[in-house]
Amino acid sequence: MSASRLVKEFSKGLWREIPPFRLVLGLCPALAVTTTAENGLGMGISATFVLVCSNGLISLLRKVIPNEVRVACYIVIIATFVVCVEMITKAYFFELSESLGLFIPLIVVNCIILGRAEAFAKKNGVLLSRADGLGMGLGFTLALTGLGAIREFFGAGTLGLVFGEQVFFDQPFAFLQQAPGAFVALGLLLGLMNLVGGSRGR
């Protein structure tokens, strides 16, 4: 296992296969919680934590888990880490747990996490799987924070993560705060990424 392979598996999640855009996985949390940059960041960090832990543990146990019940085992492992996150946010980051609400338990069924377990962790070593999880998680965090920042800045006229209480517009484009606005913002970002990164063909 070379260092370049490690870097490659880590970095692919940051741009080439960045989750909600390129893989188009995990859209439910990506659209639902990103009304502010702060919520996007919180959701991203929670998902990253679960992804790194579950990828590592699933990879470690990949020889022990029988093929027939592997999905059940993955779900138990993922659900355990998610409940950990839920308990920790409720005890130490109460405001965040309030604003993310239902979406923390829903990380269990976030397709990215089960997807990485199935597509990567069950075939690769612990270190590689963790690198993959960290890369994918950071990509997801980056995308959610970016999407949240755009929707918050143009939709509500604030950017609480950086500027605190400061209000930039009196009459923001409130459409972006609603669910249809989330789809439009995601579509525009996806289009922009394709424009910059060239066509999707390989």
Binding site: L61, V64, I65, P66, E68, V69, A72, C73, V76, I77, A79, T80, V83, C84, M87, I88, K90, A91, Y92, F94, E95, E98, G101, L102
Partner: protein, 213 residues
């Protein structure tokens, strides 16, 4: 056979390890989480009842008042699983109000409601929603003042049910289960208050004596 056993052992082992880990973490975080719910959910619900009674509260007084509510709470043991926490609201020019929490069965589990009773008239002084896991945008609308203010001023013998069930409460459109849960919680609180009126009043009075030596 061997394969079946392997499947069973692997899944059971993972589930067991998961249970132990979560149990341990729960021990560590439960107290802090309960404190957070008390501070950020229960106390604001009590304060909202106070404000619903027409008492103005400036923004800079809010934190101090919340502290006062938090420090002024009393415990009373009514033979239930855990002792009941009582909150007291006192304002110049109106009779004291005792507030405690009751639960109803909502769409996504227990729905907590702070229910306040005017100690002089025994009428409902107001309610405030604490914890719930209802559907965002639908069930969560029972939190709105438009719904909760209907309970203010109802007497002990009022029918605490939604109109669909023959009661006096207008349910929130599209959230019948959640509206029922709130009515159920208020009804339970009323029954508790009627059954243990003496003990509740005694607990409040004893606390006051202790507070002023």
């Amino acid at each position: 056979m061997k394969k079946t056993l392997h499947m069973f052992v692997a899944l059971a082992g993972i589930a067991l390890a998961s249970g132990l880990a979560l149990g341990g973490l729960h021990q560590v975080t439960a107290q802090r989480a309960a404190d957070n719910i008390l501070r950020f959910k229960k106390v604001p619900a009590v304060v909202s009842i106070y404000q619903g009674r027409g008492q103005a509260l400036a923004a800079d007084q809010l934190a101090a008042f919340e502290d006062q509510v938090l420090q002024g709470r009393r415990q009373v043991d009514l033979g239930e699983e855990s002792p009941l926490s009582l909150f007291l609201i006192e304002a110049a020019g109106s009779s004291p109000v005792v507030v405690f929490e009751a639960f109803g069965q909502g769409f996504g589990g227990d729905l907590g409601v702070m229910v306040g009773f005017d100690l002089a008239s025994e009428k409902l002084a107001g309610i405030g929603i604490t914890t719930m896991s209802e559907t965002p945008g639908l069930g969560t609308r029972v939190r709105e003042t438009r719904f909760t203010k209907q309970f203010v001023g109802l007497g002990q013998d009022a029918a605490f049910q939604v109109k669909k069930d023959g009661g006096v409460i207008d349910g929130v459109t599209g959230a019948t289960v959640s509206s029922r849960a709130v009515a159920q919680a208020v009804d339970r609180a009323r029954k508790l208050f009627q059954a243990h009126r003496q003990a509740i009043v005694a607990a409040i009075n004893s606390g006051q004596e202790k507070a002023s030596p």
